[in-house]
Symmetry: C2
Subunit: 442 residues, 2 copies
């Protein structure tokens, strides 16, 4: 890939920064080193968070339309109270009996189709995907993994090796095969399912010819890092069936779409009318507390668990469980998913209106409150479109609104506000986006 | 291996349990499944923790001589206050500027030899070891990893594949080589260094003959899962030098020995007078909050970071950092390491006295407050020794004291209390151990 893998970042010398910030960045670079990247040409620094808002040291408010971890809003007082209360009582691990662990586990699997009735806890989405791959390889006997062309599934060695989005510097596993998505390939929706299935069948054929077998299809049902390709619902079903036929497991990576973000469903795979074998959870599960999980069908989960020991020190500890339990309670009580659906519709309507006025808004895709908004008109170069998207992201940041970019060409705005987003926030966002496009497109 | 990989666990039907517990275990098994194991023949359930003590629902107190995550004691009020205060203010990720992240990073690397001046945060010890292996492979260009015979380094796919302790059910990587330790091989201390180095050189030779190259020697400096083999200090130095000569990196897994547990030093590798290339942290870093890190030399860290993106959503977030910062403050202010040294000496003296009275105490090994106590006299079978260790662990549990087993034969008591352990706790522990040995050995 020739594109910059993280275009929305600070590059030393690119912007004039206040002395205070420049000095902090120098210290940061000296101790944290090159793995760490700051977002935006002029990095942001927040000292307080509340609901949809983040505040910098000068008291300036930023509207957060980017962070998908604090789905219930920044610093949710009830979630924090649940965490603090449990931490004061006991932080016990899963090798001790703990009713609350069992209660939450039952509650969590209760939000899934009944075939998915087992759960193992982890601390991060990466750990969830890593464990799911271990289970799939164990249960299938195969090694091959099929992912989408620009998939990103996490940071562990095994998961990074099936994450082409990380670019040339991170070696891909010899056992991974990438499949193109119908949307970015320009396939009409009526043929999307056939196209996807044909890609999958071809990957299976190749894996089998090399004696690798098929362990898993690992997909994020909204294909977020590919640029948010969500439609038509159901287009993945034929590919899913083909993987099962070949003896592989289907892993739905719900780290991003899960917990109601798609609005219509609690879990993104439900939009497609399929039931996976394993489902991986992370980001919003604890509204910021490090907790994740693999939820799955009994057969593969038991086959793995009965022989291969899996013990994760922090995962499932009572503090994480109490926090995640509070998150689930609020998610249901406050009808957060329903709000994501309504606000997603309002945001889409606003963006569509904008697209009629600005040809630089090339396409809009969303499921609930996860949007990909393609920037740059058809007749401009990929580089020009990418540059325009980046300019818009930075103009919005200067205007006090946080978003970033995604997609193979990184020319789509990635918009995924906390799910507690209200109509007033949507309207503020649309106004800011319109200002930015007008300024940047001139 | 023919031994049970986790002998200290509950087996359904083995014990008569109260109805309340039996019902909870049935529900637990139905939803969490076989990956989860409960400790002890009669599992324990705790509803409150404070310092060295855990309390069950009936108010019975258990003295904790096993949990090495809450090094500062259970439910430390200052640590919890720091966590709650930061959570109420902001939980920001590392892509935003955050002075506290930089402050803590500088403070943490300041506790290491000056060559180790870079840090990347993770959420768990497994993530730390997984990342360290990625960095080592990237920086060395090699693939081979050398570990001890019964090493355990974590749960991710890549790390489990270099953890022979997980047993036959978990496939080892074709790139891993195991080396015997001088202690369990019966080598006299005067030849320990030569023996270890010869083992390492032989592993290097084999890896190179197969064209795999050497990425890393990955060792826990107290070899905890091998049975706690700590002496003589310095015995690993020749092996470490051999790995460097072969172009490999030396990774010290400090998840268990780190943060002062060895008493004499903040970091276990310092006991051996070596400076590793990478150091991995976990368990006690946040006294229970999920946080870990890789600390390392500039060259490999920068080589990896500058090209391979590493972004861990939760790791380094301000809540974890504030919590870990409070832990480090208390560790230094309350001279926790010095206490570990003093209490380790007191515990050792008590155990040595016991060994003079009971030939079933075969050997005692420790560094600070991490002990391996071999159970069963020389003239009994491995199976009998293992059974006796397990009986003692369960007798102590029934007597209100928590420990478990370790070692290739699982016949060593694994004793690693929170580091805030006082003289009165040591004395209570010794009395309980003596009661258990007397009862079990008859």
């Amino acid at each position: 890939m020739s594109t910059d893998l993280m275009p929305n970042r600070y590059r030393p010398g690119e912007s004039d920064l206040p002395e205070r910030e420049a000095a902090l960045i120098a210290r940061r670079d000296a101790v944290l080193g090159a793995s760490y990247r700051l977002q935006y040409r002029r990095p942001v620094h927040f000292v307080r968070g509340e609901g949809m808002w983040l505040y910098d040291p000068d008291g300036r408010a930023y509207l957060d339309f980017y962070n998908n971890v604090p789905s219930l809003g920044h610093c949710h007082p009830e979630v924090n109270a649940a965490m603090a209360k449990q931490a004061a009582r006991i932080s016990a691990n899963t090798r001790y009996l703990e009713p609350r662990l069992v209660d939450y586990a039952e509650r969590l699997v209760g939000t899934f189709p009944e075939e998915l009735d087992r759960v193992v806890f982890t601390c991060t989405g990466s750990e969830s995907n890593d464990l799911a791959l271990r289970i799939a390889r164990f249960a299938s006997g195969g090694e091959g993994v099929i992912v989408s062309s620009y998939a990103y599934h996490g940071t562990s060695g095994a998961v990074a090796a099936v994450s082409p989005n990380l670019g040339d510097a991170v070696k891909l596993s010899p056992f991974v095969r990438m499949v193109s998505l119908p949307g970015p390939a320009g396939i009409p929706e009526s043929q999307a399912g056939d196209f996807f299935e044909a890609q999958i069948r071809s990957a299976i054929l190749d894996l089998n010819r090399r004696g690798m077998g098929v362990a898993a299809l690992l997909i994020d049902s909204i294909f977020s890092s590919d640029g948010v390709w969500v439609d038509p619902p159901g287009f993945i079903a034929g590919g899913v069936a083909a993987v099962r036929e070949a003896g592989g497991l289907v892993i739905a990576d719900e780290v991003q779409p899960g917990f109601g973000r798609t609005g219509t469903h609690m879990w993104g795979f439900e939009r497609h009318g399929i039931v996976p074998d394993l489902v991986t959870l992370g980001k919003p599960m604890g509204n910021g507390f490090p907790i994740g999980a693999v939820v799955g069908r009994q057969a593969p989960m038991e086959r793995f668990g009965a022989t291969a020991r899996y013990s994760n020190t922090f995962a499932g500890n009572t503090v994480g469980i109490a926090t995640a339990d509070a998150v689930l309670t609020i998610l249901e009580r406050d009808q957060i998913r329903q709000n994501a659906l309504a606000m997603g519709q309002r945001l889409r309507a606003g963006l569509e209106e904008m697209a009629m006025k600005h040809r630089e808004v090339r396409a809009i895709r969303n499921a609930g409150l996860f949007f990909g908004v393609d920037i740059g008109s058809e007749d401009t170069s990929a580089a020009a479109r990418r540059a325009m998207a980046l300019d818009i992201v930075n103009a919005m940041r200067d205007d006090g609104v946080l978003v970033s970019t995604t997609g193979a060409n990184e020319d789509a705005l990635k918009v995924r506000p906390p799910l507690v987003c209200g109509a007033e926030h949507v309207d503020l966002f649309i106004a800011a986006a319109e200002r930015a496009i007008t300024t940047v497109a001139g």
